[in-house]
């Protein structure tokens, strides 16, 4: 190797590095100085679904309103897996430094991308694994469903409750379990039947499932799919009561039979994440909001709910917020007779992702 070449490479390297700095970091410095932030969010469905995805999209919209320097890249209908990774990497290439991977199944793809880009911050709803640059956030939905159960147990006349659910995944099983336990706490006679449609969005199939349940004499129908509109509407038409989820506007479809509903409200949390990334205080956490947090909203009660039920719900809500009561307090048997939670113990809400059984008194298959 000649001296000249060594000299050249020695001289060139810092120049190249300087150029790279000017091009890459220089821009990001300028952007940071102005307090700009590019946020990427990927959705499993459509942001106008009147349900789960819309709640996330609304959250980002609130963040954008509160933080005018935020720029948002949204991509809808992203399949879980390698596609999700590609879309997230693409967002990072466009300058995104905060990524929301807004579906349960995005956890592993997000963890892989997070490892590749340690300077980018990731947020995942409902995840049970974290990374130094990946925060998980969720809300204690079972507590809210327990309250719905109390209201339903007090309202039902046939003592038969039903749930139309997309898929038998742990979070949904936990919600229906909590609902049944809440109902049973005020009405020992109740039974809850559960039907899975196998998909997050197929309103016509949801309708058939709802009708099958109603034909068995069920008079309170709950629903955990993308949008509760169809099921709530059918319950109303057939003179049954309903409990909504994800979209509180569903109340207008059931002026008579509406009991109540639960919805996520992500706006304030997302604003907080955005602020933290901009001022450098963001750190990886595991956030699980309770009923007192701003992450969960419970809809107003419908006219069918007796006054004593409404009072009891409000009291129980306080007890939950003070953490003086556990939803899954033992002893609890599953619907196959196995003891799942021993007396004087409880199933921690941190372990929601592992719940693969249904409580005694629920008629349905957890797998």
């Amino acid at each position: 190797m000649s001296r000249k070449r060594l000299f050249l490479s020695g001289k060139l390297l810092p120049i190249l590095a300087g150029l790279a700095l000017a091009l890459g970091f220089g821009f990001s410095d300028a952007a940071l100085a102005q307090g700009k932030l590019k946020v990427g969010i990927i959705h499993i469905g459509s942001i106008t679904d009147g349900g789960y995805n819309q709640a996330h999209s609304d959250g980002v919209a609130v963040m954008k309103k509160n933080l005018p320097n935020v720029e948002v890249i949204q991509v809808e209908n992203v399949p879980e897996g390698a596609d999700a990774e590609r879309v997230m990497e693409n967002m990072i290439k466009q300058g995104a430094t905060l990524i929301f991977a807004a579906s349960f199944g995005y956890l592993d793809p997000a963890l892989r991308v997070a490892k590749k880009f340690p300077d980018v911050k990731f947020c995942h709803p409902g995840g049970y694994k974290r990374a130094p640059n990946l925060t998980t956030y969720w809300a204690r939905t079972p507590e809210a469903f327990y309250l719905m159960g109390i209201a339903a147990g007090k309202t039902t006349k046939t003592h038969k409750l039903g749930y139309v659910v997309a898929l038998p995944i742990s979070f949904f099983l936990a919600n229906v379990n909590a609902f049944h336990l809440g109902a049973r706490s005020v009405n020992p006679k109740v039974e809850t039947r559960i039907v899975f449609t196998g998909t997050f969005l197929d309103p016509a199939k949801e309708a058939t499932a709802a009708n099958a349940l109603l034909d068995l004499g069920i008079d309170v129908l709950g629903v955990i799919v993308d949008s509760p509109i169809t099921v709530v509407q059918i319950a109303e038409k057939r003179g049954a009561y309903s409990v909504g989820f994800h979209y509180l506007g569903a109340q207008k479809f059931a002026p008579k039979g509406w009991i109540s509903g639960v919805a996520f409200t992500w706006g304030e949390l997302y604003t907080q994440f955005g602020k933290q990334v901009m001022d450098g205080t963001w750190k990886s956490e595991s956030i699980l909001g309770n009923l007192g947090s701003n992450l969960l909203t419970i809809a107003p009660f419908g006219p069918a709910v007796p006054a004593d039920a409404a009072n009891l719900v409000n009291e129980t809500k306080k007890v939950f917020i003070e953490e003086k009561k556990h939803v899954f307090a033992g002893p609890i048997k599953d619907n196959k007779g196995t003891e799942r939670v021993k007396a004087n113990e409880h199933w921690s809400l941190d372990n929601l992702g592992k719940m693969d059984w249904l409580v005694e008194g629920i008629i349905g298959q957890p797998k």
Binding site: S46, T48, T199, P203, N211, L216, F253
Partner: protein, 305 residues
């Protein structure tokens, strides 16, 4: 109790089967004219969204059905332009039209998500609806359910007892021969595609106006493709289509019913039931289907060039 469950199952089968029947009859028109339409899903979605929007705006579900049929017909005519006039590949064009329909319907419908409609409701028939059991199962349905079976017979009559139907079938079998006999294959194909679009549009309207009474993106959830399969199942025959649609719809209703009853079988397995059934039927009857297809299905007619 058993009577009540059986009734529930039959009603569920009719509900699930009706949109499938309309869509299948539509695809029979497409394919009898020699054109495979994989874009049926998109046509149904255009019908579903047009019907829903019109019903929201006018409050009249009958106008909604009309709009749905027209939207489906026009959308399918555009497909016709691609594959008949421009002579594009049918499978590729069909898939492209499917995605186009998914996107376009989502775009148009976005503003109407969460809108409330009265929709298409049950019509009780004098005397018949009061019959024990049968009244509940057969005569407590919406207009589109009542129309479905007579329509299948009408399609059958058109295909096999009218001159136009004969010409159409001739085009599907051998367009060159039909051309030589003085028929214009392209005109007949356009006519068939328009009718197919009308029917698929109505199928979509039955989902959004009668069953779900709501609009959501891609709410057909694959029914367009099931209909394409049902055409093969029914040997391109409109009356067999009734059997196919009812069987498939029945399998969907049955699996949901079994879950509601608490049968100890995994919901994942039960969800496969309709597809297992289709596979079984195709495996048993597969051989006899080979000769049932229109001979020129999927081929581009170049006769006049």
């Amino acid at each position: 109790m058993i009577e009540s469950i059986l009734g529930s199952l039959l009603i569920g089968s009719i509900h699930s089967g009706t949109p499938l029947l309309y869509a299948t009859l539509g695809e029979v028109f497409d394919e009898r004219a020699g054109i495979v339409n994989l874009g049926l899903e998109g046509v149904m979605l255009m019908g579903a969204v047009a019907g829903f929007i019109t019903t929201v705006q006018t409050g009249n579900a009958a106008l909604g059905i009309l709009a749905a049929a027209l939207a489906g017909g026009l959308f399918n005519l555009f497909f016709g332009f691609l594959v008949i006039t421009r002579k594009a590949n049918q499978l590729a064009s069909g898939l492209a039209m499917m995605f186009c329909g998914v996107g376009l319907s989502a775009l148009v419908g976005a503003r109407f998500i969460g809108s409330k409609i009265q929709g298409l409701n049950e019509i009780r028939l004098p005397f018949l609806s009061d019959l024990p059991f049968l009244g509940r199962v057969l005569f407590n349905h919406d207009l589109l359910v009542y129309m479905a079976l007579p329509l299948a017979f009408l399609v059958w009559w058109v295909f096999f007892f009218t001159r136009w139907g004969l010409s159409l079938r001739a085009v599907g079998e051998n367009p060159t021969a039909a051309f030589a006999a003085g028929k214009n294959p392209q005109v007949l194909q356009y006519q068939a595609l328009f009718i197919a679009g009308l029917l698929a549009g109505i199928a979509g309207a039955h989902l959004s106006l009668a069953l779900a009474k709501t609009w959501s993106e891609w709410m057909t959830a694959g029914r367009g493709f099931i209909a394409v399969a049902l055409v093969i199942f029914s040997k391109w025959h409109p009356l067999w289509a009734v059997v196919g649609a009812l069987l498939f719809g029945g399998a969907i209703a049955l699996q949901l019913q079994l879950q509601a009853l608490g049968v100890p079988i995994s919901s994942f397995l039960l969800d496969m039931l309709p597809y297992l059934l289709s596979l079984g039927v195709l495996a048993i009857w597969g051989r006899s289907r080979r000769h049932a297809a229109p001979a020129s299905l999927g081929q581009v007619f170049r006769g006049t060039e």
